[in-house]
């Protein structure tokens, strides 16, 4: 198949899956089979695309002009493929997990759930293959809208309230900042197409670039840069599989992916380093990742703690881009992948704990390692990956980010990264450690009868993603090769 038909095929998997899901709504087994089949096809398509990956960004399709100089474009480039592969792989895993979770939790409206799930993935594919800012924006908004029903899935007042914050912040920032930024880009450069090396001339007014950078960083609200991060904790009212895929992977990653893509293909590293607001934003990112860690420490609700941890980890990616050095971009790209696998494992574990033992608070988890050794083991591995310790993949992304800060000569930020990692240990890694090794009066030696794990489907998914965390440490080669082909990441 040609590149363009592959991209189209990749984009059309989700809509077709939705039709299949809706048609088979009355037969749950068939419905879930459709989801699994669709995600498997999607992964295959994306891998084939990876095999045919050309150099630079290749436009595969464009529409007629909607406005002078503005049209819809699809393009294939390394960053997009990376994102597409991660998202589609985790879709498959999450569907498997959701089968266990949703059924044992007896959630209502499961057909709607799976349908919107597929729709969100479709939007993510659109974002991954967007060839210009306008297309990106379109799918970005569509993603916000299509995930909203998932966020308010429970239908309670609390869910609705959370959904309101979610939509308000995401739509608000995108309309107030993102859209004007696109307009300003088009106004200044005459094009909004993603171009390796950036679209701006060398003599572009640096003030305009500064303004643009600020608009983009805040406009892509999904990147959860403080002070526009509130939507992420608010969205945690969603069922756990949703939180896992959307708020650890698809939605938030769409945010940082957009920032990375804009940094590399709209600004280009050279123009990026010329923008004066960059430095200011860098320190904001540094502040954001520290502050979110501190807030996370004070959360007793496990999902809320994970949410704030995500806010912190996303700031790593933004920071990587804003460093405007090759190692920073590499680190940012790696962080997208590593954090995706690490955080989704953590969310899966949180959901498994909820299903198996009905616990949602961190303070209740002490000693749980006896009941759920497998889950807690995976939790430990994943938290190590988030912290950035061997033997997990997170090591590499943190390593490159560190390298980036040093390359850029920002020692203060390097210190912030180290401090944040220490905080991560405190609020994440200590959870499984306490679950296994805390001895109090109630503690009894483990026996097989105590073991009470989540349903098999959940455990399968957890096992897979946790293994991935380790595998990414052992074999980061293919990933690094792919990332090194991003213009600016510099081999």
């Amino acid at each position: 198949m040609s590149l363009s038909s592959l991209v189209f095929a990749s984009l059309s998997v989700a809509p077709l899956a939705i039709i299949g899901i809706c048609l088979s709504g009355s037969r749950p087994n068939l419905r879930e089979a459709v989801s699994i089949l669709a995600s498997a096809i999607l992964i295959t398509l994306n891998l084939v695309l990876l095999g045919q990956l050309p150099d630079g960004a290749v436009t595969t399709w464009h529409s007629g002009e909607m406005l002078p100089g503005l049209r819809l474009e699809l393009a294939v480039e390394p960053l997009g493929i990376l994102f597409a592969i991660i998202a589609s792989t985790l879709w498959l895993v999450t569907v498997v997990y959701a089968i266990g979770y949703m059924r044992s939790h007896e959630e209502q409206n499961q057909t709607r759930f799976y349908a919107f799930f597929a729709l969100s993935i479709g939007c993510v594919m659109g974002i991954a293959f967007a060839g210009n800012l306008l297309t990106l924006f379109l799918f970005y908004e569509l993603l916000t809208l299509s995930t909203w029903p998932l966020v308010v899935h429970a239908g309670t007042d609390k869910a609705r309230q959370g959904g309101g914050v979610y939509l308000g912040l995401l739509l608000g920032t995108s309309v107030l900042f993102f859209l004007p930024a696109i307009f300003l880009t088009w106004w200044t450069a005459g094009t909004v197409t993603f171009t390796p090396g950036g679209v701006f001339n060398a003599d572009t007014n640096p003030v305009v670039l500064s303004v643009l950078l600020v608009l983009f960083v805040f406009g892509v609200g999904k990147a959860a840069m403080m002070p526009f991060h509130r939507w992420l904790p608010a969205a945690m009212v969603a069922p756990t599989p949703v939180s896992a895929l959307l708020h650890a992977v698809a939605v938030v990653k769409a945010g940082v992916f957009s920032i990375l893509k804009i940094g590399v293909y709209i600004f280009g590293l050279e123009q990026l380093s010329a923008a004066e607001s960059r430095e200011w934003l860098l320190y904001l990112a540094g502040f954001s990742l520290l502050a979110a860690s501190i807030v996370a420490m004070r959360q007793d609700n496990l999902k809320a703690r994970l949410a704030y941890s995500t806010v912190s980890q996303l700031a790593y990616v933004s920071l990587g881009v804003l460093l405007a050095v090759p190692a920073g971009v590499t680190g940012g790209g790696l962080q997208i992948a590593m954090h995706a696998f690490g955080k989704i494992t953590l969310f899966f574990c949180a959901g498994a704990i909820l299903v198996a033992s009905h616990k949602t608070r961190v303070s209740e988890l002490s000693g749980l390692g006896r009941q759920m050794p497998f889950t807690m083991g995976a939790f430990l591995l994943a938290s190590l990956s988030i912290v950035g310790l061997p033997p997990t993949g997170g090591t590499w992304s943190k390593f490159y980010l560190m390298l980036g800060t040093l390359e850029a000569g920002a020692l203060l930020l390097a210190a912030a990264l180290i401090l944040s990692s220490l905080l991560n240990i405190v609020y994440l890694t200590l959870i499984p450690v306490r679950a296994f090794w805390r001895f109090d009066g109630r503690d009894v030696p483990a026996s097989r009868a105590d073991i009470q794990e989540a349903p098999l489907a959940c455990c399968l998914a957890i096992g897979f993603t946790a293994t991935c965390c380790v595998m990414l440490f052992l074999f980061p080669g293919p990933l690094l090769t792919l990332i090194s082909r991003i213009p600016g990441a510099g081999g």
Partner: protein
Amino acid sequence: MLSQLPVLPVLLPLIGAPACALLRRPTLAWVFACLVAVLAFLCTVSLFTTTWQEGVQTYALGGWPSPWGIEYRIDLLNALVLLVVSGIGAAILLASRASVWQEIGETRRGLFYVACLLCLAGLLGIAATGDAFNLFVFLEISSLSTYALVAMGPDRRALLAAYNYLIMGTIGATFILIGIGFLYMLTGTLSMADLGERLPAMGESRTAFAAYAFIVVGVCLKLALFPLHLWLPGAYTRAPSIVTVFLAATSTKVALYVLIRFTYSVFHLEFSQLAQALDTVFIALGVIAVFAGSLVAIFEADLKRGLAYSSVAQIGFMVIGLGIGTVEGLQASLIHLFNHALMKGALFLALAAFILRVGSSNFSSLRGIGRRMPLATAAFVLAGISLIGIPGTAGFISKWYLVLAAAAQQQWILLGLILAGSLLTAVYIWRFVETAYAEPEGDSVIQRNEAPLGMLLVIVLLALLNLYFGFDSRLPVETAGGAAQALLGGDAS
């Protein structure tokens, strides 16, 4: 046949109305009215293409040439407005049956369609005529029939709303009449083209300014520009649902056309010193309208009334474009005129379908409507997204040009206000979405109960047009661009 084309769209409904009154059976009246409206629409399509290809079309009524007789003069601007009004009018009449049959008593149904045709004739007449006094007459024809239509609303408050509209509308029309009188005093002519040639030669005349002031206030009453909008929410809320669709999609558009026509073709305000002051006034009023209208819409408990206030806000956007005063601004204003007709047509028509099935437009009774009427609700949401101005919909195109016009004038604050205004739109549209897809209260089992087929088709068609013109915007953009160029550039197109 072709030489009569400029007058046909007006003549058909004007003659059709009394003929329609002769028909005894309401169904027959409906079919006849639809037939007339569709024919008129086909004529305007043909007129539009002719104007597009060959330039200005003129027709001298009764064979009396221009400065003496009444001349119909169709340039791109007229053609665009005619197209919008007759197209939406025909679509609404086609979709109207079920809603009218529910809301209007059996004896009045036939007369309802007579009034509709008269109103259509009036609106098309305003858009087609080149004579200032003739414009006033058509304005009154459309207004009087509108008062009657509003009064047919399902509950007694419609009567009061119609009465208030009548008082304000008549004051507005009389103001216009005074203005036209002053113009005649000054120049001795009533032909708008002739006026446009003579007035600039008069220099800065006080009479001309007074005339313009009267006309602007009068037209703004009809246009419901803040703060002269007081009649609009009442009339829109209490009128029969179909009438609300019709008014929202067509009547204010025509008023905007009149304002543009008088400002640029008759008074040539772009050359006057007054222009800048006026531009500021228009922009200020437009911005206030956007914010006041949207804020009220956000907190309104009744969706129909909320949408009425939203219309006040959207009129604000159009007037902002006018106030920017450049070709781009005018173009944006005209594009929004076109697109807003599509959006509000779809929104109010979907709402009419909701009222048909639920019996009320209160937010509380619309809970769960997304399951009862999935297609109509989806169309509503799509049109709502277009109203917000999300890329991929027609609304984006209008907002884009509006922002472009503001940026070209370096009016950055205005640009920010436009965006903030769009955001407010998002709030009240989202309020509906939340209600529509919320779980219904209590244990009531929701039956799927879509709108009648004819109505549903039109709703979906209008919503899809919003999408279509979001991707292929050549028709409104090029027409509006040509019309704006002709108005401001002075060269006849």
